[in-house]
Each structure stands twice: as C-alpha cells, then as structure tokens.
C-alpha cells in the first residue's frame, strides 16, 4: 500500500509519499498492529475445517432422520463430542472473520461498520457457546 519512490537512481532526495512513518514500515504490522494475523488465521481455520466439515457432512448425509436416542448416542460419544466442539469453535471463528471482512469492504459508514462487526462477533460467540454447551450437556 505504501507508494514511496523507493527506486532513486538520480540520487535526488527521496520523496516521502506514504503516510506511514519509517518505523511503522519497518515493524510492518499495520494500523491494527496485527500484521497478517487475521488473514493467516482464516487460512489456518479453513485447513482445519476441511476434514472436520467433511466428517460432519458425511455422518449427517448417511444418517438422515436420526431418532432422538440415536442423535444423543452419536453426539455423546467422546470421540464425536471432541470433534464437534472443535468444529463449532473453528466454524464460528472462520465465519465471524469472513463476515467481518465483507462488512469492512462494503459498509462505508464507520459507526455502522464497527457496530455491525461487533454484532456479528457477539452473535457468533453466543451461538458458539450455546452449541458447545449442548454438546457438553449430552456428552458429560
């Protein structure tokens, strides 16, 4: 993003054409101080979600119309409960950060943008906690 005239063959004084300070550019972590953390976490969660989602969809697609007892037995199995909680946590992390990027891109009004991002994060936390609690109530 910085458009400094770094190539300076003529030897004239360099024009500082960026709003960033040289120290800020050296640190390279941007205005939020997180660098590429948000971007990187979205990749990490996507890789982790790949096998977890395939497993979840495969189980559901081959067990459509489960009875309540069958569902409790499946969710309550320790192996499934661990994977389900991992799936829930990663899904909501990935979803909230994806929706955040969309809001950052398209919502122009700053108050509305920040407010909607906080709302998405709040709802994601609550739904995620509710889902994890449901799994724990069945499994424990």
């Amino acid at each position: 993003m910085s458009h400094s005239t770094s190539s300076n063959p003529g030897g004239q004084p360099v024009q500082q054409a960026s709003l960033r300070t040289p120290l800020g550019r050296v640190r390279g972590r941007g205005a939020a101080g997180h660098g590429a953390h948000h971007w990187w976490m979205q990749r990490v969660t996507s890789v982790a979600l790949l096998p977890l989602t395939l497993w979840f969809v495969a189980v559901l697609a081959t067990n459509a119309g489960m009875t309540h007892g069958e569902a409790l037995a499946w969710i309550g199995h320790p192996f499934n409960a661990v994977l389900l909680i991992a799936l829930i946590a990663l899904t909501f992390q990935h979803t909230a950060s994806g929706l955040q990027v969309i809001l950052e891109d398209y919502v122009n009004n700053e108050a509305l943008r920040r407010g909607s991002i906080l709302l998405v994060q709040g709802v994601s936390w609550l739904l995620g906690i509710a889902a994890v609690l449901a799994v724990l109530r069945i499994a424990v």
């Binding site: 054409a17 989602t53 969809v57 697609a61 309540h68 979803t95 739904l127």
Partner: protein
C-alpha cells in the same frame, strides 16, 4: 486536493515522480465492467456462498441445542429439516458449502503461489463448478438412500 471525508480516500492519493500529489484514477467499475467473466463471477460467488453457509451453521446450532433440550424440541427440528422448506434450505446450503469448500481449496492453492496463469485459472474454475454439481448430487444421493 479537497478535504477527505473518508480515511480510505488516502489510498486514492499518490505522488508523481516529481513529488506533486495526484488523485489516482478510479478503475472503471460496475457500470462498464464485464460482469459475466468467470474469474469475477466465481470470486463474488465465494463470498456469497460463505454467507449462505452461515444459515446452515445456525441450523447446526439449532439441531444440537434441540437434541440437548429433549425429545419434543428435537422432534421439532427434525420435522422442519424434513419439510419442503427445510429440504430446500439444506439443498441450497449443501451446494453453497461444496462450492465454498472447493473454491476455498482453489484460494489456498493461489496462496501457495500455484495456478495464477489465466488458462489454469479457467481450468480450476470449471473444476470448481463441475465439482460442486457432482458432490452436491452425491451428497443428496447418499442422504436420500439412507433416509428411505
């Protein structure tokens, strides 16, 4: 240069090599851009399918919470998922999820620096579309076979 109303306008300001400021030209946007190119269509579809998948995530939470709540709540969610509207919703989410998954793998390949040239981009784009159709059909075939 006029006073900025939005901090993001700072990215629209550049300098010529002699140091004088210049307002960067805005690239031709929605009105003149060819919207039917596969590259841009698949790109925005990745976002749209991600948002659609959120509906499926909410259903997953409902299903889990209902299972924990008891038989009557669970009967409700199972009734809804088996209804016309529920099946329609799940079919849409299945297609969106497969698209988002396959296009996401394509994005990871790009992140690794692979597949940027135009012929490969079009080839992987077609593979994502065909893969979405095939995997959505296979998922529902498996679902319907085990359901009945």
């Amino acid at each position: 240069m006029s006073i900025m109303k939005d901090s993001r306008e700072a990215t629209m300001v550049g300098r010529r090599s002699d140091g004088t400021t210049v307002r960067r030209p805005l690239s031709p946007h929605l009105q003149v851009y060819d919207m039917l190119q596969m590259t841009s269509a698949l790109s925005i579809s990745h976002r749209i399918t991600g948002v659609i998948w959120t509906a499926g995530v909410v259903v997953m939470v409902w299903w889990l919470v209902a299972a924990a709540s008891g038989p009557s709540a669970f009967a409700w969610v199972q009734w809804f998922l088996g209804s016309f509207l529920g099946v329609l919703l799940l079919m849409g989410v299945t297609a969106a999820a497969w698209y988002h998954t396959l296009a996401g793998i394509r994005h990871l390949a790009w992140d690794a620096g692979w597949g940027y040239d135009i012929p490969t981009t079009y080839r992987t784009g077609r593979a994502v579309l065909i893969g979405t159709a095939v995997l959505t059909a296979l998922t529902w075939l498996a679902l319907l076979i085990t359901w009945f």
